[in-house]
């Protein structure tokens, strides 16, 4: 976590710089079905984050020798565009950080997708971070869950998450870039509310036992708000299929 000399004061008079309360999320909007060619897609606008998720499949496995006769393979790719950060031009393509995030994102969907229904296939989940402002991995996976549903791929639940941090000693939800850079702790997580399971869990910082427990409770509380936006996005796209139009 950041310990740099130019750390701004993140909590002023008990409030976050953005004016948010500890449990307040940034503005969040999800749009389902934004791409024509992909089998499913979603765009998420979360604070200043902009992430596009696209799903292709189930389809024939490539390379062929990796085929699993019992289930569909999940290929997840999280990557940040070179122009996505407010700082300098980044390197294009995956780096160590994004390779790690792609791996844990894949694990989320290996749990979430009913992979046994599609033996010998693969499902590609592509998450393109176009603009980053802290919390891109939970934003990307939240969008990818909507894209999977938009692709008609059977899943066990909509999955979503939020990152819980500790800034100036206070535990807060949905860190923005400043809070992420200079905060004392960051705990991004993805959950299934239906099963109460944590499907992605990463953490660094320095937390006591009660703080860990409290952060986990905050994750589930935040996830409820995020799920509402996923449901809104999917209803907006599919409700027209149900309501008589004339």
């Amino acid at each position: 976590m950041g310990s740099s000399a130019n750390k701004p004061q993140l909590i002023v008079d008990g409030k976050r710089i953005s004016g948010r309360g500890p449990m307040d999320l940034r503005n969040l909007k999800i749009t389902a079905g934004v791409l024509k060619k992909a089998n499913g897609s979603a765009m998420i606008e979360w604070g200043n984050n902009r992430v596009l998720a696209a799903v292709y499949g189930p389809r024939e496995v490539f390379p062929k020798h990796t085929t699993d006769p019992r289930k569909a393979l999940i290929h997840a790719r999280y990557v940040m565009a070179p122009f996505s950060s407010a700082e300098e031009h980044g390197r294009s393509g995956p780096n160590r950080r994004s390779i790690e995030i792609s791996k844990v994102a894949k694990h989320v969907f290996e749990n979430n997708v009913l992979v046994n229904q599609f033996p010998k296939t693969m499902i590609n989940i592509d998450m393109e971070v176009l603009q980053s402002d802290g919390g891109t991995r939970v934003a990307a996976i939240t969008a990818a869950s909507v894209a999977l549903v938009d692709a008609g791929i059977p899943v066990r639940d909509l999955v979503q998450g939020v990152s819980i941090g500790k800034v100036d000693g206070m535990q807060v939800a949905d860190l923005d870039k400043n809070e992420d850079n200079y905060g004392e702790s960051d705990m991004p997580a993805i959950v299934s509310l239906r099963t109460g399971e944590i499907l992605l869990y990463q953490m660094d910082g320095k937390l006591t036992r009660p703080e860990v427990d409290n952060a986990l409770s905050m994750i589930f509380e935040g996830a409820k708000k995020v799920r509402e936006k996923q449901v809104e996005a999917l209803r907006a796209k599919y409700e027209t299929d149900v309501a008589p139009q004339e």
Partner: protein, 263 residues
């Protein structure tokens, strides 16, 4: 490998009866041993043995330019190599997602605990010390993360800082007199990791490679100074509930002393 599939069934069947193939309890370690200062050319080194698993950590100290956004801090970095010597399925080549994940989890724990006082690594001429930890997996028989974290911590706690002589030329890097020590690297906080593998709904500690194949998922928790969670990572498809995660944190804290005694 086809044999793995056969063993997977056996390990799962045993687990349903609450047993492990080597007779251990769910929260028991294999015999652990740590050798320190195994090499003389690097500034710190250690090999951790967890049963048949052997993981080496080597520490090199270099002089470096500080990162532009952190001029008053030294550099700390962990890298991991899964050597082809360690397992028939390990291939030579660039780091893959598994070795990157392992390195980053070990790195995060030590970094988040502020084990290394990076501010103390600034040299009088404005250059900084870089502390480079390279984890080498020599024999993969499971639980590489915990072995790597233990080897890294043991190596760091026994790392000497070579004597530095600034350059006469303004702005140029000075040189090390590696034979002469300027004291040991100061470690402010001790970190261990505990990795739990979930098999048939039961979480076990210090899994063998065969148990890892049968596992649905892993939760790694890095504990500092016997009480703080400083890093954590869930891997694999299994989900963990809040209560479950908290009880594994408690288990990791309870196990802290069993590993910390080897530093």
């Amino acid at each position: 490998m086809i044999l793995d599939e056969v063993k997977e069934v056996y390990i799962k069947d045993l687990m349903k009866k609450g047993q492990r193939a080597d007779g251990r309890g769910a929260m028991d370690y294999r015999p652990i041993r740590v050798e320190k200062n195994v090499f003389s050319n690097c500034e710190g080194s250690a090999i951790a043995y967890f049963g048949d698993t052997k993981v080496l950590a080597g520490v090199k100290i270099d002089v470096a330019e500080p990162f532009s956004d952190r001029p008053d801090e030294g550099i700390f970095m962990v890298n991991a190599e899964f050597t082809p010597a360690a397992h028939p399925e390990f291939e030579a080549g660039p780091p893959n997602e598994k070795s990157i994940e392992l390195a980053r989890v070990v790195d995060r724990g030590i970094r988040a605990a502020n084990s290394i006082d990076v501010k103390s690594l600034v040299l009088p001429d404005g250059k900084v010390l870089g502390v480079f930890v390279d984890v080498y997996v020599l024999d993969h028989s499971g639980n590489l993360t915990d072995a790597a974290a233990l080897a890294a911590m043991a190596a760091l706690k026994n790392t000497r800082i070579p004597k530095y002589e600034p350059s006469a030329k303004q702005g140029a890097k000075g040189t090390f007199v590696r034979e002469e020590s300027a004291g040991n690297l100061a470690i402010k906080s001790d970190v261990i990791t505990c990795s739990f593998e979930k098999i048939e709904g039961t979480n076990i500690l210090d899994a063998t490679d065969e148990e890892e194949i049968a596992s649905d998922g892993r939760l790694t928790i890095a504990v500092a100074d016997g009480q703080y969670m400083v890093a954590s990572q869930k891997s694999g498809r299994a989900g963990f509930k809040q209560q479950e995660l908290m009880s594994l944190f408690d288990a990791a804290v309870a196990k802290y002393g069993e590993l910390a005694k080897y530093f």
